[in-house]
């Protein structure tokens, strides 16, 4: 069986977010990047299926040279090989263009199972996974907290509001977009990192996937015009001063609330 894991490299969750010159994204130079947190759970789920039996795990990611780092990490954790869509023309693409690229890679790979994260920590769009499934013509489930092989497919538990779960059966091939927390994600071992150096990363451009005219800013149907600090409302009263001063004001407030 073959599992394709789609992952995105995103600014580190603790990175400084300064807005770039044209005001449409953040400044990327000088900040750290990491694998999107939701995608790490998807990768872990794939590796668990591999550990439990026979499966080849292929990871794919779209982005500039820095993405090699994320792919190497995934290979170090146990993925078998990687596909890197690295093409300057892809910059400025919307979610649909990204989904088209991933679906094109998926068509070449024809996996039994595609695993992805529910959303990305930067764009927060929860868009790409179901789009990839639609473009591949396969069923999908999002926000999955548990996936188990069952019959000719997977039984998935989708998280609803307040902690309720919706159980759905998907026949393979299918796409599962996982919610954070469905497993505990492993670290790459030293041995794994060494082994990863020999694992192949296949690089492609949009043209190789027949999508040269459907990516980038010009083709984007949803375009970010501007990003900015959210308008601040009244907000909290910020207590300034030394730790002692801060603490004495907090104690005062807690007394006033009648909680002491």
């Amino acid at each position: 069986m073959k599992i394709l894991v789609c992952m995105k490299q995103v600014p580190h969750q603790d990175a400084r977010l300064d807005i770039d010159g044209d005001g449409t994204w953040i400044k990327e130079d000088g900040i750290k990047f990491e694998i999107n947190s939701y995608d790490t759970f998807a990768l872990e789920e794939a590796l668990r299926i591999k550990d439990a039996g026979e499966a080849e795990v292929v990871v794919v990611s779209i982005g500039p040279d820095r993405v090699t780092q994320a792919l190497r990490t995934a290979l170090g954790m146990g993925a078998d090989r990687a596909v890197h869509v690295n093409d300057d023309a892809v910059a400025g693409s919307d979610a649909l263009a990204i989904a088209k690229l991933l679906a094109a890679v998926a068509k070449e790979e024809s996996p039994d199972l595609v695993l992805m994260g529910l959303m990305s920590d930067d764009g927060n769009a929860t868009a790409v996974a179901p789009m990839v499934a639609e473009l591949m013509g396969i069923p999908s489930a999002t926000g999955v907290m548990k996936a188990e092989a069952e019959g000719d497919g997977y039984r998935c538990e989708r998280e609803l509001e307040g902690g309720a779960l919706e159980v759905v059966d998907l026949p393979t091939p299918c796409l599962i977009a996982v919610q954070s927390g469905l497993n505990q994600v492993r670290y790459a071992s030293l041995k794994g990192i060494m082994a990863a150096k020999k694992k192949p990363i296949d690089t492609k451009g949009a043209g190789d996937l027949g999508l040269a005219d459907q990516v980038g800013t010009a083709a984007a149907k949803a375009q970010i015009e501007k990003i900015y600090q959210p308008a601040k409302g009244e907000g909290a009263e910020i207590i300034e001063g030394s730790t002692d001063e801060v603490v004495s004001q907090l104690v005062g407030k807690i007394k006033e609330l009648g909680l002491l």
């Binding site: 919307d94 979610a95 789009m131 759905v168 505990q184 909290a236 104690v251 807690i254 002491l260």
Partner: protein, 315 residues
């Protein structure tokens, strides 16, 4: 002006509040408003929605649509888009919405904008980077699928002169099969009854710190511990401590958020608290927008000092 199709969502047999919010949102965008109600035995709800913001309501009423199923719902929504000639489709950003909406956008090769909370000067406004920045998003092309954050806008309250129309939907091609819904398990820790909740987020760093720093403050105030989702995901605390849209919704007398940034999914679980104190080293953290009192500092300095001072104050 184009045609806007609202995809209403039912919960326990009734149209959800979020669907009435979509009706208000549709009016804000401006256009001819039509709607879709999906389910089994939903004619009555569809009638009433038609009069309360829905306008012309297409009714996809079929036993196979009694429960949510991505393929069946997808077929119903696409049939309603064809029938209505809609150029903008509005869907609530709920577990159902985020499961089906992107598939519709991909099938139509349409623009997709998700989790928007406003529409201003021709652009959709949404939050990015887990609440830290806002983005104005413009749509190009002739069709758009937009999901809207529940609770972002007040619900439509007027009346509309609408009627219903039966929509035939072929769900025979559905591959995904609904099995059952499992209700949330009863919690060992019922945070909804606590007067004081001291919550820790990813900023607490590791499980030991919860025991060393967060728990003593909770004990000093006779309160309970709470947590944001990453804390639970990492296994530092069990799920029953999680506050937020996929955890518990709490309204204590005092909620102290330590090392929590304030993503919307956390805020919906605690913003109704009587008094909120936020301790975070990032002055721009969105949590300060819902807190009444804020401390911009390292929680590892402030929290233990506060615990000690409370012990002293109690004598």
């Amino acid at each position: 002006m184009g045609t806007i199709l609202i995809v209403a969502e039912l919960k326990d047999g009734s149209v959800r509040e979020a669907s009435y919010e979509l009706a208000a949102f549709a009016n804000k965008i401006g256009g001819d408003v039509k709607s879709l109600v999906i389910g089994s035995g939903v004619a009555g709800e569809a009638e009433s929605f038609a009069k309360k913001g829905g306008g012309t309501v297409y009714v996809a009423d079929d036993a196979s649509l009694a429960n949510y199923n991505v393929d069946g719902y997808s077929a119903a929504i696409r049939a309603a888009i064809d029938a209505s000639g809609a150029d903008t489709v509005l869907i609530s950003n709920t577990p159902t919405g985020w499961d089906v909406a992107p598939r519709i956008a991909a099938a139509l090769d349409a623009a997709f904008v998700s989790d928007v909370f406003n529409f201003e000067d021709g652009a959709y406004i949404r939050r990015v980077f887990n609440g830290k920045l806002d983005a104005r998003v413009k749509v190009a092309g002739d069709k758009a699928v937009v999901t809207v954050q529940p609770g972002a806008l007040p619900a439509f309250e007027g009346s509309t002169d609408g009627s219903t129309e039966t929509l035939a939907v072929d769900t025979s091609g559905a591959r995904a099969k609904f099995v059952e819904t499992k209700v949330a398990e009863a919690k060992g820790v019922d945070l909804t009854k606590a007067d004081v909740i001291i919550s820790g987020g990813r900023g607490v760093g590791d499980p030991e710190k919860f025991t060393e720093v967060i728990q003593p403050l909770a004990e000093a105030l006779g309160g309970a511990m709470g947590a944001s989702r990453p804390v639970v995901d990492a296994g530092w605390l069990p799920h029953e401590y999680q506050v937020g849209s996929s955890g518990q919704v709490v309204t204590p007398k005092l909620y102290v958020a330590c090392g929590i940034s304030g993503a919307i999914q956390h805020l919906v679980g605690m913003k109704g608290s009587n008094f909120i104190i936020a301790i975070n080293k990032d002055p721009d953290a969105p949590i300060f927008e819902v807190a009444q009192l804020g401390v911009v500092a390292d929680l590892f300095e402030v929290v233990p000092a506060l615990t000690a001072a409370l012990a002293e104050a109690k004598g």
